[in-house]
Symmetry: C2
Subunit: 223 residues, 2 copies
C-alpha cells in the first residue's frame, strides 16, 4: 500500500502543483481545505475540482472562523489593494496577511495526519514571490516541523514544501511538466460575483507575470 500524505489544498495554482507532485511521488493523497471566512470562497470550488481531478483518497473541507478575529483584507471588510507594483508588494507585510493562518492550517493537517497514520504533510508555501508573509518562510516551516514532532505521539512528521524556493514561473513550468490543468485553479483575492478573476490584485498580478515568464498561456478568465 502506498504511503499516506496530507496535502493542504487551497484551490490556487501553487497547491494544485503540490498535489500533482505528491501524486507523482505515489503518495496516497488526503487533501485538506479550509473555509475560513475568506472573501474569495470560490477557491473552495476550485479545490473540490482539483481534488476530484487527482482522485484523492479523501478531501476534507474544515470550517474555521478566522474571520471572527478580523485583521485581514481576506476575511474582514477591508479593501483588497489593486494594481500595485512588485516594489510596493515587497515593501511591507500586505494587508491580505491573515494572522497565524498557516500555523492554524498546519495544526489541523498535523491532527489529521496523526489520526491517519500519515507522516508526510505537503504545503505549497513559497518564499520567493510572496516573501511578505512571514509564515511562508523556510525558518517558519522548520520551526513548525520541530514543534509537530514534539507535539505528537508519532513524532516522525516531515513537512514537504516543494515550491518554497521557486519563482511563480518555475512553479508553472514544474506544473506543466506534471500535467497540471491550471484552468481548474484560481488565484484572485477579489473575484467578481460570477467568479471571474479581477486581474488587478497582487495575486492576479503575480499569476499573470508567472505565466508570461514561463512562456505558457494563462487559461484564467480575467474580468
Amino acid at each position: 500500500m502506498s504511503k499516506k500524505a496530507v496535502i493542504l489544498l487551497s484551490g490556487g495554482l501553487d497547491s494544485a502543483t503540490v498535489l500533482a507532485q505528491a501524486t507523482v511521488e505515489a503518495y496516497s493523497c488526503y487533501a485538506m481545505s479550509f473555509a475560513y471566512g475568506q472573501r474569495h470562497f470560490h477557491e473552495l470550488d476550485a479545490a473540490k475540482k482539483i481534488a476530484a481531478y487527482y482522485k484523492v483518497a479523501e478531501h476534507r473541507v474544515v470550517t474555521i472562523d478566522l474571520g471572527a478575529f478580523g485583521g485581514s483584507a481576506l476575511t474582514a471588510d477591508i479593501a483588497v489593494p489593486k494594481d500595485r507594483t512588485e516594489d510596493q508588494m515587497n515593501a511591507a507585510i500586505p494587508i491580505t496577511y491573515v494572522p497565524a493562518r498557516n500555523t492554524i492550517f498546519l495544526s489541523y493537517a498535523l491532527a489529521w495526519a496523526e489520526v491517519l497514520g500519515a507522516a508526510d504533510i505537503f504545503i505549497g508555501v513559497n518564499a520567493v514571490d510572496y516573501s511578505g508573509y512571514p509564515d511562508c518562510r523556510p525558518e517558519f516551516i522548520e520551526a513548525f516541523e520541530r514543534t509537530a514532532n514534539l507535539a505528537t505521539k508519532s513524532a516522525n512528521f516531515k513537512l514537504h514544501t516543494p515550491l518554497i524556493h521557486l519563482t511563480k514561473a518555475q512553479i508553472i513550468s514544474l506544473g506543466m511538466s506534471l500535467g497540471v490543468d491550471y484552468a481548474l485553479t484560481t488565484s484572485c483575492y477579489d473575484p467578481t460575483p460570477e467568479g471571474k478573476a479581477c486581474g488587478h490584485c497582487d495575486s492576479c498580478i503575480l499569476r499573470k507575470k508567472g505565466f508570461v515568464e514561463a512562456g505558457v498561456m494563462d487559461p484564467t478568465e480575467y474580468d
Copy 2:
C-alpha cells in the same frame, strides 16, 4: 492601560489557576475556550462561570471540529479508562490524548493575540501529573513559541506556563493563595448527565489526590 494577554481557559482546575495568576499580574485578560466535540462539554459552562468571576475583558468560545478526526476517547466513541493506578497512567500516552490539540489551541490563541496586539499567551499545561501528553512538555512549549515568533508580523510573543513544573497539590496551593474558587471548576472526563464528576477517570483521580496532598477540601460533587 494594562497589557493584554490571551488565556486558554478550559474550565478545569489548572486553567482557572492560570487565569487567577494572570489577573494578579495585572494583565487585561482575554479568555479563549474551545468547543471541540469533547464529551465533557460541561467544562464550557465552567469556563463561562470562571471567566465571569474574573471579569475578563472578553471570553470567546471557538467551535472546532476535532471530533471529525476521531482518534481520542475524549472526542470519539471510545470508553474513558477508569480506576487506573498512577503507574498505569504513566505507562503510555493515554487514549484521552487528542491529536495535536494544544498545537491547534495555541494557534488560535496566537491569531487572536496578534489581532488584539497582545504579546502574552497563558496556558495551564503541566508536565508533572500529566506527563503522558507530549504537547504539555516544556520542549513543546519552547518550540511553539519559536514557531509563533516566526509565523507572525509582531514576532514578540511570550508563552506563559506558570504551572508547568508544579504538582497538582502545588497548583491547588497556589490557587488557594490567589483565592481561586475551585467549586467553579470541573475536571472529570466522563461526568454524569447531570454534570457530576465520575470520580474514577484519570482526571478525577489526580484531582482528588491533589486536594488531599494540598490539605485542602475538594469542593467537587462526585457521583
